[in-house]
């Protein structure tokens, strides 16, 4: 039986979204209201299972009376607020943010970003060929997953998932400052010398593919990764009695990666090393 927690009934508050009156439950963000109204606001660092960090600033909208633009992902809706999502000012900032990111980070595996670059007419090339890039090599230091920080937009989601929001392992943090800031374990050591427990919950939340299964990384390198040929099957982990949901991504009858449904009321997309990476026995055909 599926139990959907209803929670305490929430008061609806009214505000204006792009000139239209809308009602949103108290405590919801501007982004929640936008999505409920069918408006598509780009987001990168926002995660459905994490507290908004509002670091990427790609979801900014204009709020009447605010000196600067505000991040839709974290600003709570307030009664009487006047929010405009599609103004020239908001679109300009989104465009520049996308350009800034695309000019220094490899966004080739970031879902939807190509579509947004086109929609906002972003031209990342205009910063010139000498524009500084992250220039990071993929870190392949263990058999389970790869950290390709050339694709990292520093959204902090992996840090939050590893830290006090989910895993409480605290294996990674942002190190350095400014443009030189990178996600790192202590002393910038290999993952195998760190506190990492290989739960893979950081991979689950990574929005750009900077963190990926070794299997996915190798297949992409070999050119055999093809998401369109993959099936996704959600099942129950067989290891212990918790009964976490697993979604097996299968290509050519081989499990290529494992995710977990974020709407699971118990685990919220989190798994342990066994559920995430211990699927080889399923494929043992001997």
């Amino acid at each position: 039986m599926t139990v959907t927690p209803l929670g305490i009934p929430r008061r609806l508050l009214e505000f204006t979204l792009d000139g239209e009156p809308v009602r949103a439950p108290e405590g919801s963000t501007i982004l929640d209201a936008c999505r409920a109204a069918g408006k598509d606001i780009p987001t990168l660092c926002e995660g459905d299972t994490l507290t908004p960090k509002n670091a990427c600033r790609v979801c900014v909208v204009e709020v009447e009376g605010s000196r600067t633009l505000v991040p839709a992902c974290s600003r709570k809706a307030e009664p009487g607020m006047e929010v405009r999502t599609g103004t020239e000012r908001a679109r300009h900032s989104r465009k520049v943010v996308l350009e800034l990111l695309a000019s220094c980070v490899d966004l080739s595996t970031t879902p939807r970003v190509a579509e947004w670059l086109k929609e906002y007419e972003a031209k990342p090339d205009r910063f010139g060929p000498a524009a500084a890039r992250l220039n990071e090599e993929p870190k392949v230091d263990n058999d389970l997953y790869v950290r390709d920080y050339d694709k990292c937009i520093l959204c902090y989601k992996c840090v939050d998932a590893c830290g006090d929001q989910w895993q409480n392992t605290f294996a990674i943090s942002v190190a350095g400052r400014g443009f030189d800031a990178r996600i790192a374990v202590e002393h910038d050591a290999p993952l195998t010398d760190s506190a990492c427990v290989y739960c893979g919950n950081c991979i689950e939340v990574c929005p750009t593919g900077a963190l990926s299964f070794k299997s996915e990384f190798d297949m992409r390198a070999a050119g055999t990764w093809d998401a369109s040929r993959q099936t996704e099957t959600t099942t129950v982990c067989a290891y212990c009695g918790v009964g976490c949901n697993l979604t097996l991504h299968v290509q050519d009858n081989e499990i290529v990666k494992v995710t977990s449904p974020h709407d699971n009321p118990v685990t919220h997309g989190n798994l342990c090393i066994k559920g995430r990476f211990g699927y080889q026995h399923v494929q043992n055909r001997d």
Partner: protein, 655 residues
């Protein structure tokens, strides 16, 4: 919290440095040798984690003693404080004054910021580097503004070593209040001295005889900079703070009246010059009365944002959540600003008294003074003043017999401009990376440790004293209707008498510059520092008020007035400003993290170009600048393009 530690072990010296701050470890759970009792007893939970705010003082203790932070040292500090090593590594790598790689014990910070560059810092730095060469035992680092602009070009020497005030072996738990590795307080002159100085040649890290020393060298020449770096303990004393106040001794001064006239080391002298009358008045008025006075005085924050102080205090005082905290923001890092340093060096008890009043009014019993790490003399002065005030019952459990408890802890910054942003400062104090928080919630509601916090700049707090001694109406009569009271200006650059000036709000820029002896070939004036804007020599009639500068399309900011003559190439200055923001961006949000890099790149491309050749890049700068201003999280990114924009629009740079 199940923490993982590597195999690296601290050296005896590193262990001693941490233990001197935290006391010896109580059990194997926090780094002592394992005993039988540890197998039956676990220490953890909230109590063990509650000391996270000592992480920054701990990093300072290591850096002060050893000069850098090794893996073993960081791991040991993490064990002691129950902090995940990855997070501590993130914190240690955040600050410019720390190094996680081995480096010589002596670091020579040569300021290459605006005023110092105009005074030839680039050549100085290159020459010092060449002369010292590799293997000299001195690491030369190019530093952002050191807050010594009145004595440009400036250099600061920090040599790691044993604390001269402390025996080499710490068995007795000597704990400096505030956790900062303090030196003997009250020593006249900046550099702390010790007869146990090493040979001076020193890769002193291993030589046990080398003692910690700091010395300021300003104005610096190649010879004095090298001399100070090789033997900081023998450096000549800094000129007294009054040397930075050309008006010193003028009886009409309000905020600076004691600088140069009262002995900054003497509490009695402070009281003889009117000290602690404001606190007595505050106790007579009661907290609500003090807030009313401050509100009626029209006092606006002097840190740059000009928020009404009375409103901030009222908002904090009325929060039901407790405890309340008071934080004094003395992380003065805006290029060109040095007024807070002069106040703390020249009149330290005034700040102690003002903080006591602010805390009393807002219901706080604990205050933090977040002091810039590059201000050794201000640190000594404030440590001494706080110790003296505590000994005399002016801080502590029962201030002036009124039954009110308040104490102040000093926390040192470690080289991060962003930590002057109010919420970044909270994170830094709490032992996290100094990244700004999203607002709302505002500090008055959820500030330091998530509790209601009032945070004020040094100059703002010091203004509270005249508000109470002369009364709100008399104070409000100074200045203009909306900008009340006296204001401090940090005048530097192309003037005959650089220094801190006090003028009532409403004086014009021209009057101030005339007072400072501006030279004839004035090309531009930078108001408000790197986050401020340029004005032209024909705009000197701008009234120096918050509203007046706003109307003129510029800003007063923190009171920086930097004059540049026509010998300084403007594009180079703009490039230095852009470098500053690139270096100081915390990296949290994209517009600032990448935008400041792209801004610097574009300014680099057009440094020798004008007109149509520069037009494309100027258009690009405008687009990036607009996004930084609109979409950055905090004031750093929002203002990173201000000065460049004003130089293009007002001064016609690149035309």
């Amino acid at each position: 919290m199940d923490l993982h530690f590597g195999d690296s072990k601290p050296t005896d010296e590193e262990r001693a440095a941490v233990d001197a701050l935290l006391g010896p470890p109580e059990s194997a759970w926090e780094g002592a040798d394992r005993s039988a009792a540890d197998l039956r007893w676990a220490r953890g939970g909230r109590e063990a984690r509650d000391r996270r705010d000592l992480l920054l003082p701990g990093l300072h203790a290591l850096n002060d003693r050893v000069g850098w932070i090794s893996e073993g040292a960081l791991d040991y500090l993490c064990r002691r404080l129950t902090v995940p090593p990855a997070e501590a590594y993130g914190v240690a790598t955040f600050y410019a004054m720390f190094s996680v790689k081995p480096r010589p014990a002596t670091v020579l910070h040569v300021c290459t910021d605006l005023a110092c560059t105009a005074a030839g810092a680039t050549r100085l730095c290159a020459a010092v580097e060449t002369r010292l060469g590799p293997g000299s035992g001195v690491q030369v680092e190019r530093s952002p503004c050191l807050g010594l602009c009145e004595r440009a070009p400036a250099a600061l020497v920090i040599r790691a070593g044993d604390d001269p005030a402390r025996p080499a072996i710490e068995d007795e738990a000597v704990r400096t209040e505030g956790g900062a590795g303090g030196t003997a307080p009250g020593v006249e002159g900046g550099p702390s001295r010790s007869s146990a100085a090493g040979s001076g040649e020193g890769k002193g890290r291993r030589g046990r005889a080398v003692s910690r020393a700091t010395a300021v060298c300003a104005p610096a020449t190649i010879d004095t900079a090298i001399g100070t770096a090789t033997a900081p303990e023998n450096a000549p004393s800094e000129p007294p703070p009054a040397a930075a106040v050309p008006q010193a001794g003028d009886p009409t001064l309000t905020l600076l009246k004691r600088v140069g006239t009262a002995d900054p080391a003497s509490l009695d002298d402070y009281r003889a010059h009117g000290g602690y009358t404001a606190l007595r008045r505050a106790f007579a008025l009661g907290p609500a009365g003090v807030i009313r006075e401050v509100t009626d005085s029209g006092l606006l924050g002097r840190g740059g944002a000009a928020f009404p102080t009375g409103r901030k205090w009222q908002a904090t005082a009325s929060q039901p959540d407790h405890p309340h905290y008071l934080v004094c923001n003395a992380d003065e890092s805006e290029p060109g600003t040095f007024k807070d340093r002069v106040l703390m060096e020249g009149d330290p008890y005034a700040l102690v008294e003002a903080m006591t009043i602010a805390a009393y009014a807002t219901g706080a019993h604990q205050g933090y003074l977040y002091l810039r790490g590059e201000y050794p003399r201000a640190l000594h002065r404030m440590e001494h003043a706080i110790t003296r005030a505590r000994a005399r019952g002016l801080l502590g459990d029962d201030i002036l017999g009124q039954g009110y408890a308040f104490d102040i802890e000093i926390r040192r910054g470690a080289g991060a401009y962003i930590c002057g942003e109010e919420t970044a400062l909270f994170n830094s104090l709490e032992g996290h990376r100094g990244e700004p928080r999203a607002k709302p919630p505002f500090p008055v509601e959820k500030g330091l440790f998530g509790k209601p916090t009032v945070e004020n700049n040094v100059e703002t707090l010091v203004n509270v004293l005249p508000v109470l001694t002369m009364g709100a109406p008399a104070y409000a009569a100074i200045g203009t209707k909306t900008s009340t009271g006296p204001k401090l200006y940090c005048v530097s650059g192309s003037v005959a008498r650089p220094g801190v000036y006090e003028l009532p709000f409403g004086a014009t820029l021209g009057e101030l510059l005339t007072l400072a002896g501006v030279r004839d070939n004035l090309r531009a004036v930078l108001l408000g520092g790197a986050a401020g804007g340029f004005v032209r020599p024909d705009e000197l009639a701008v009234p120096l008020t918050f509203e007046g500068t706003r109307e003129a399309g510029t800003t007063l900011g923190s009171g920086v007035v930097m004059a540049f003559d026509d010998t300084v190439p403007l594009p180079r200055l703009l490039l230095r400003i852009a470098e500053f923001f690139r270096d100081e961006s915390c990296g949290q949000c994209v517009p600032c993290r990448v935008g400041t890099v792209r801004q610097e790149e574009a300014l680099h491309r057009i440094v020798e170009r004008t007109g149509a050749d520069a037009a494309g890049d100027i258009a690009l700068l405008r687009e990036v600048g607009r996004a930084m201003r609109d979409a950055s999280i905090c004031g750093l990114g929002q203002t990173a393009w201000n000065a460049v924009e004003s130089a293009i629009d007002r001064l016609g740079a690149y035309e």
